[in-house]
């Protein structure tokens, strides 16, 4: 995990001064190992726990996927989309349409994700004309429009939706387990993609946009292209989550899959956990599941409380719970920045890492 001195080697001035550049202040190979162990243990869960637990975890994986996508959008690219339910719904409907035509839903899942990424391209062309708040409402209108169009087609259930075919004769125990593994795989893939994107050149541009967009653009960063790529990736990720949702619910209803509360949940989870930090969505999803399970008999109260916490955190702790933890403990699970080590000076972080 530690890429010691590889960057500094290309920088003669740096080596001459005896500066060592690392990805993290400590060796974090152990975080990678622990992450692998956690994923392996989670993958073994269907053999260990009752299906009630895995059902809750499927919900958690969906929210985690959505939150890490929204984090990429709002936390790094500065795109506050409140219309991501468009892609949750499209993902669910693509799986349904493929299943009606004979494609097994689990095979339809990756196709649905890619399909959402493709659909996002023309939609980006529409909404990218508007900035900040007006961009936000434009995505909202777009989601409403897509739902109204889909409701026109009675062959896919019209306004009431329809059950997802393709599971006839399947043992419910296996179905629950496969659904769980699909949800886990999507969530892990989402987290890994976010991590890899942020470590790449694109990640540098995104981090620059996050910290100061004007400065990033005047330094020659291609912010428009970076934003487009993030929009497409987030659409594909939300589409995959929507596909998992359709499979886990075994039915697709327009009002449910195109609901604004999906965007509310992904946004609140991200803000609470820590906007602009990779670890934030994990913490935020944990808080979300905790509240949602505790208050599940009180209807929408979990969403109200989640919203109030998110407002407070947006105002008083801009980098969320993870930001608070990071400042006090100086740890990073997913190192994407660079640290300078110098014998004369105390180790310091490059601003904006």
């Amino acid at each position: 995990m530690t890429r010691a001195a590889t960057t500094a080697a290309g920088n003669p001035a740096g080596t001459a001064l005896g500066i060592r550049v690392t990805r993290s202040q400590r060796n974090v190979a152990w975080t990678g190992a622990i992450a692998l162990v956690i994923v392996a243990v989670l993958a073994y869960f269907p053999y260990l726990v009752y299906s009630g637990t895995t059902t809750i975890l499927v919900q958690a994986f969906i929210v985690l996927t959505l939150a890490s996508m929204w984090n990429l959008l709002a936390g790094y690219a500065g795109l506050v989309s409140v219309g991501q339910q468009a892609f949750v719904g499209l993902g669910a409907y693509l799986v349904l349409i493929l299943a009606i035509h004979g494609t097994p839903p689990f095979a339809g899942l990756p196709v649905a994700a890619i399909g959402c990424g493709v659909v996002a391209l023309p939609l980006w062309w529409l909404v990218s004309r508007l900035r900040t708040g007006y961009f936000a409402i434009a995505t909202w209108v777009l989601a409403a429009t897509i739902m109204l169009i889909i409701e026109r087609f009675s062959s896919i259930g019209g306004g009431t939706g329809m059950p997802l075919p393709g599971f006839a004769g399947m043992d419910p125990t296996y179905l629950t387990a496969y659904t769980y593994w699909a949800a886990l795989a999507v969530a892990v893939l989402a987290m890994v993609s976010v991590y890899l994107i942020l470590r790449s050149r694109l990640g540098l541009v995104l981090t620059a946009i996050r910290d100061d967009e004007t400065a990033a653009r005047s330094s020659g960063a291609r912010t428009g292209l970076a934003r487009l790529l993030v929009f497409l990736v987030a659409a594909a990720g939300c589409g995959a989550a929507g596909a998992v949702l359709a499979i886990s619910q075994l039915q697709v209803q327009p009002a449910a899959v195109f609901n604004i509360s999906w965007t509310a949940e992904m946004a609140f989870a991200t803000i609470i956990g820590g906007l602009g930090t990779i670890e934030g969505p994990i913490i935020g999803t944990a808080v979300y599941i905790l509240l949602q399970q505790t208050l599940q008999s009180y209807n929408a109260w979990y969403l109200i409380i989640l919203g109030l916490i998110a407002i407070a955190i947006a105002l008083f702790a801009r980098r969320g719970l993870w930001g608070l933890a990071e400042d006090h403990l100086k740890i990073r699970l997913f190192p994407v920045g660079y640290w300078l080590h110098d014998t004369a000076l105390a180790p310091g972080r490059i601003p904006g890492s």
């Binding site: 004309r129 708040g133 936000a136 409402i137 209108v141 604004i260 209807n299």
Partner: protein
Amino acid sequence: MAWVNAIIQGILTGGLYALFACGLSLMFGVMKVVNLAHGDLAVIAGYIAIGIVFVTHMPVLWSFLIVVPVMAAVGYALQRTLIQAALNRSVLTTLLVMFGLSIVIENGLLQFFSANTRGIGVNLALVTDSINAGSQIQIAWLLIVIFAAAVAVLTGLQYFLSRSRYGRLIRAVADDPEAAQLAGADYRHVFGIAAAIAFGTVALAGIAYGMYSQLDPTAGTDTILLFAFAAVVIGGLGSLWGTLLGGIVLGIAQQVGAQLNISYETLAGYLVFLAVLVIRPQGLITTGNQS
């Protein structure tokens, strides 16, 4: 004749949409705040009107005399506390806070008042009566009154902002809060006043919509916020009369769509909105005159 009727209905509902939109436009023009909770606040105003009429039995039409000042006070208070605190941090924070507020209000209304729809003054002659010309053309008095109210509000706002002393102050603060502050204006207070005016129009919009149709917690975003926004974009950002034109275009699109098939009403409006976004992203009217 049915088509003529659809166009007349469209023009008149355009007035209602302009009434939805002017508060949104004003908040953006002055504070650069995109009030995502705009529609939910209008629903709150409508519910307050229903409550006042229920308790005091006062004439429905005069309920705005109480609701408008109440909402204006709420607007001032909200601007001076929550919104200003968010603005002090960043544009991003402001958006996140307003989105959070919108979701919290909508779900709060669902918890306290259920998802049932409620109308305002449904038995009123004004709401039920209409002018009839021929068998096909039927124009509700209520729509005419709402259209007149919208034109009155827009004219008043335009006059206030361009002619009055305080309007000039608001425009100065909108242009450069810091410079206005140096020249002796307390920009936070001016922001508060602008928010109070915007919330006053939000109150009118909520009452008007409650009389024209039915209020429920989801109407705030599904109808009021999104239609207001579509009207603002179609008309051109920052132009008050453009907003009226945008509302009328949206209204006509919806009514003509409904004439084709009743379920196309909302969709037709959004498709026209998207078409404008493609063909003329700067809106139909561009004056550059920030309201």
